[in-house]
C-alpha cells in the first residue's frame, strides 16, 4: 500500500473517531476536545518552523493572536462577514510573518528564540494598551460565532465537525509537505544549513516559507478560536501561551506530526485529569488544603514543566517516539 493511501486511511479513521466523540461526549469534555483540536492546528504549524526547519520559535501565540484580533476587528468593528474575516486573518498573519522574518531569519539559536519572544511581547503590549482598537485588557466581545450557522445545536457539538475538518486538513497538508521537495529542504536546513546551501537549497527562503506557513496555521487556529468563543483577550496570546505550545510539541515529539497531535491533546486534557485526581485525593481522605491537593488542582503548569523535563531527559523523541518504539516491539513478536 502506498504511503499516500495509508495516510488517507489514518485520516479517515481520525474523522470517524471525531464523529464518534461528537456522539458520545457532552458539554465540557467536548469543549476541551474542540480546544485540543485548535491546539493541534497551532502546534502542527509550530512543528513546521521548529520541528522541521529548526527555528526556535517562542512566539507562536503572537500569530494565533493576530488571527484572533484581525478576525475580531474585521467582524465587530468593520462588520465583515465570516467568509471574509477568516481568510483576512490568515493573510494578515502571513504578511506579518513575512515582514518580521526578514530580520529574524538571519538569527540562530537562542538569539532567534529571544527575538521571537520580543515580537510576541511587543504584540502583547499593543493588544493590552492600544485601547481604541483592541479594547485593551477587556478584550473584544460579540464576535459572530461559527456555531450560529447551525441553529438549534449545542455550540460544542456544532463546532466539532468544523474544527475537526480544519485540523484534519492541516494534518493532511503537513503530511503532504513532509515528503515534498520543500519539506525535505526544511529538514536539510535544520540538520546542516551549510550542507543544504552547498547542494543548492536557498536556506533563507526555505526558512521564511516555514515561518510563514507556521504563522498561517497559527492564525487559522486563532480565527477559529475567535469565531468559536465569541470573545478574545490579550492574555490568550501571551508569551506564556507560546511556551505552552512549544511544550506540547516537545512532549509529543518534535519533528513528528503524530507528536504534535499527541502533545496538543495530552497537555490540553492534563489539567482536567489532574483536577479529577485532586477530587479523588480529597475523596480518599486527603486534606483539601494541603500541598498535594493544591498542586493537583491549580498546579498543572508545574506538571507541564515536570513532564517536559522528563521527556527531554528520558524520551527525547516524545510520545510519538514512544508509540514508534512500542510498534517496533509489537512487530518483533
Amino acid at each position: 500500500m502506498s504511503v499516500q493511501s495509508k495516510q488517507l486511511i489514518w485520516l479517515g479513521a481520525a474523522a470517524l473517531a471525531l464523529t464518534a466523540a461528537g456522539f458520545f461526549l457532552e458539554g465540557y469534555s467536548l469543549r476541551l476536545l474542540n480546544l485540543a483540536l485548535l491546539n493541534v492546528i497551532t502546534v502542527i504549524g509550530l512543528n513546521l518552523a521548529f520541528g522541521y526547519c529548526g527555528i526556535i520559535h517562542l512566539g507562536q501565540a503572537a500569530f494565533v493572536g493576530i488571527g484572533a484580533y484581525v478576525t475580531a476587528l474585521a467582524t465587530v468593528k468593520l462588520g465583515w462577514p465570516m467568509a471574509l474575516s477568516i481568510p483576512a486573518a490568515m493573510i494578515a498573519a502571513g504578511v506579518f510573518a513575512l515582514i518580521v522574518s526578514v530580520p529574524l531569519i538571519r538569527l540562530k539559536g537562542h538569539y532567534l528564540a529571544l527575538a521571537t519572544v520580543g515580537v510576541n511581547v511587543i504584540l502583547e503590549l499593543i493588544a493590552k494598551n492600544w485601547v481604541e482598537v483592541t479594547n485593551g485588557y477587556n478584550g473584544v466581545t460579540g464576535i459572530p460565532r461559527l456555531t450560529d450557522l447551525i441553529p438549534g445545536m449545542a455550540p460544542e457539538k456544532a463546532f466539532l465537525p468544523m474544527v475537526g475538518f480544519a485540523a484534519l486538513l492541516v494534518v493532511w497538508i503537513a503530511l503532504r509537505l513532509r515528503h515534498s521537495h520543500l519539506g525535505r529542504a526544511m529538514i536539510a536546513v535544520r540538520d546542516d544549513e551549510t550542507a543544504a546551501l552547498t547542494i543548492g537549497i536557498d536556506a533563507g527562503r526555505v526558512k521564511v516559507i516555514a515561518f510563514m506557513l507556521s504563522a498561517v496555521m497559527g492564525s487559522l487556529s486563532g480565527t477559529l478560536y475567535a469565531h468559536y468563543t465569541g470573545f478574545i483577550s490579550p492574555s490568550d496570546f501571551a508569551v506564556s501561551q507560546s511556551i505552552l505550545f512549544l511544550m506540547m510539541l516537545v512532549v509529543g515529539g518534535e519533528a513528528a506530526i503524530l507528536g504534535a497531535i499527541l502533545g496538543a491533546i495530552a497537555l490540553t486534557f492534563l489539567p482536567e485529569l489532574l483536577r479529577d485526581l485532586a477530587a479523588g485525593y480529597v475523596a480518599a481522605g486527603g486534606n483539601e488544603k494541603d500541598i498535594i491537593a493544591r498542586l493537583l488542582k491549580d498546579g498543572y503548569l508545574v506538571f507541564y514543566g515536570l513532564i517536559t523535563l522528563i521527556v527531554l531527559m528520558a524520551l527525547p523523541k516524545g510520545l510519538a517516539g514512544l508509540v514508534q518504539h512500542l510498534r517496533n516491539r509489537a512487530a518483533l513478536r
Binding site: 530580520p103 540562530k108 539559536g109 537562542h110 538569539y111 511544550m247
Partner: protein, 356 residues
C-alpha cells in the same frame, strides 16, 4: 514621609512608594521636596496582580519637566539598570562557560526575593535573613546544575533551552503556590528612607544597590582575570575538552559557574525587592530585559553586560518619562531587536558567524 494615618512610608523617587501592605503614588514637584498624593491604596489579598500593577500607568502622568526631573529620571534608570546588569552578568557567566542561556533566570530572581521575605520573617532579623537567602540561592544554582544541566549536557542547544524554560515554569508556579500571586516588598538591610542629594531623591538602599553592583563587578573581574580559579573558568569556556586534559575539574567549574549565576540572580532579587515590587509573574519580563541587556552589550562580555544593563535601565526610565510608560517595555525590546539585526555581536561581543 508620613501618610494620612501617620505611618512613615518610604517613597522611591519615581513616585511609587510602599510599606508593608500599603502603597501610594505621589507626584513630586520637580526640584523641590513638595509632593502631592496622587493615589493611596492598600495591597490587600483580594487585589489581583493586574489591579495592583495598574498604578504604574498613573506614573506616566508624572512627567519631569525640568533639568532636575531629568536628572532624577536618569538616576532611577541607572539604579534599576544596576539590577539588570547583575542579572546580565549571571547570563554571561553561564553562557561563556557552558554555551547555554538560562531561560529560568528571571524566576530565580523572584524566588531570591521571596526567600528573602520568608527568611527575614523566620529569623526576625534583616541582615542574617538576607544573607541566608543569598546562600540558599547559591545552593539553588548548584542544584540546577546537578538536576537539570548535567543530564541535558550532551543534548542539542534547543533541548537545553526548552529544559531551562520548563524549570522556569516549575519554579514560578511553585513560588506562586507558596508565596501567592501578589506583589510583595522586602525589608532592606540598608534602609529606604528618602533623602535629597543635589536635588535628586535617593535612599540608602538605592545607593547600596549601586555600590554593591560596583563591588560585585570588580570582584568578578578579579576572580576571572586575576585568580587561578578564574583562569580555569576561562579555560573551560574556551575548550572544555582541552581543559579536562590539562587536569582541570570541569564539572567543578561548571558547578561553580551555576552557583555564581544563582547567587547573582538571588542578589538581584534581594536588592530589587525593597524598592520595586516583586511578584511571581514578573520573572519572564525581568529575564527578557536582562537578555536584552546582554544582547545590547554583547553575549559573553562582562563590561558589555554592565553597559547593556545600564542602557536598558535608562531606556526604560527615559522611555517611560518622555515617550510612553505603557510601551516602555516595547521600547526595550525594539532596541534589542534593532541590535540583533544591525549589530548582533552587541557593543562589546566579538563577532561569531553562528550568532546571526
Amino acid at each position: 514621609l508620613k501618610d494620612r494615618a501617620g505611618i512613615t512610608r518610604s517613597y522611591t523617587a519615581d513616585g511609587l512608594g510602599n510599606l508593608g501592605n500599603s502603597a501610594a503614588i505621589i507626584k513630586f514637584t520637580p526640584g523641590t521636596k513638595d509632593f502631592t498624593l496622587v493615589r493611596n491604596f492598600e495591597v490587600t489579598p483580594d487585589v489581583t496582580p493586574t489591579t495592583a500593577q495598574a498604578p504604574t500607568a498613573a506614573i506616566s502622568q508624572v512627567r519631569p519637566s525640568q533639568l532636575k526631573g531629568a536628572l532624577q529620571t536618569i538616576f532611577n534608570g541607572l539604579a534599576i539598570g544596576c539590577i539588570y546588569a547583575l542579572l546580565a552578568l549571571g547570563f554571561v557567566l553561564v553562557y561563556e562557560a557552558t554555551g547555554v542561556v538560562n531561560f529560568a533566570a528571571g524566576q530565580f530572581v523572584v524566588i531570591g526575593a521571596f526567600l528573602g521575605i520568608s527568611m527575614i520573617a523566620g529569623l526576625g532579623a534583616v541582615v542574617p535573613g538576607t544573607l541566608l537567602a543569598l546562600v540558599a540561592m547559591i545552593g539553588l544554582g548548584v542544584l540546577f546544575f546537578f538536576v537539570v544541566y548535567r543530564p541535558l549536557q550532551q543534548s542539542p542547544v534547543v533541548t537545553v533551552i526548552v529544559g531551562t524554560i520548563a524549570v522556569g515554569i516549575i519554579v514560578q508556579n511553585i513560588g506562586q503556590m507558596i508565596w501567592g500571586p501578589l506583589p510583595q516588598r522586602l525589608p532592606s538591610p540598608f534602609g529606604v528612607a528618602p533623602m535629597s542629594l543635589g536635588g535628586v531623591v535617593v535612599s540608602a538602599h538605592i545607593l547600596a544597590v549601586i555600590a554593591i553592583t560596583l563591588i560585585v563587578v570588580t570582584s568578578l573581574y578579579v576572580l576571572l582575570y586575576r585568580t587561578v580559579i578564574g583562569a580555569r573558568m576561562r579555560a573551560v569556556a574556551q575548550d572544555a575538552e582541552a581543559a579536562k586534559l590539562m587536569g582541570i575539574n570541569v564539572a567543578g567549574i561548571y558547578a561553580l559557574t551555576w552557583a555564581l549565576a544563582g547567587g547573582l540572580a538571588g542578589l538581584g532579587g534581594l536588592l530589587m525587592g525593597p524598592v520595586w515590587f516583586v511578584d511571581s509573574s514578573m520573572g519572564d519580563a525581568l529575564a527578557l530585559k536582562s537578555f536584552a541587556a546582554t544582547i545590547i552589550g554583547g553575549f559573553g562580555s562582562v563590561p558589555g553586560a554592565i553597559l547593556g544593563g545600564l542602557i536598558v535601565g535608562l531606556a526604560e526610565s527615559l522611555g517611560a518619562a518622555y515617550v510612553s510608560s505603557t510601551y516602555k517595555d516595547a521600547l526595550v525590546f525594539l532596541l534589542m531587536v534593532g541590535f540583533l539585526v544591525a549589530r548582533p555581536q552587541g557593543l562589546f561581543g566579538e563577532f561569531r558567524g553562528d550568532r546571526g
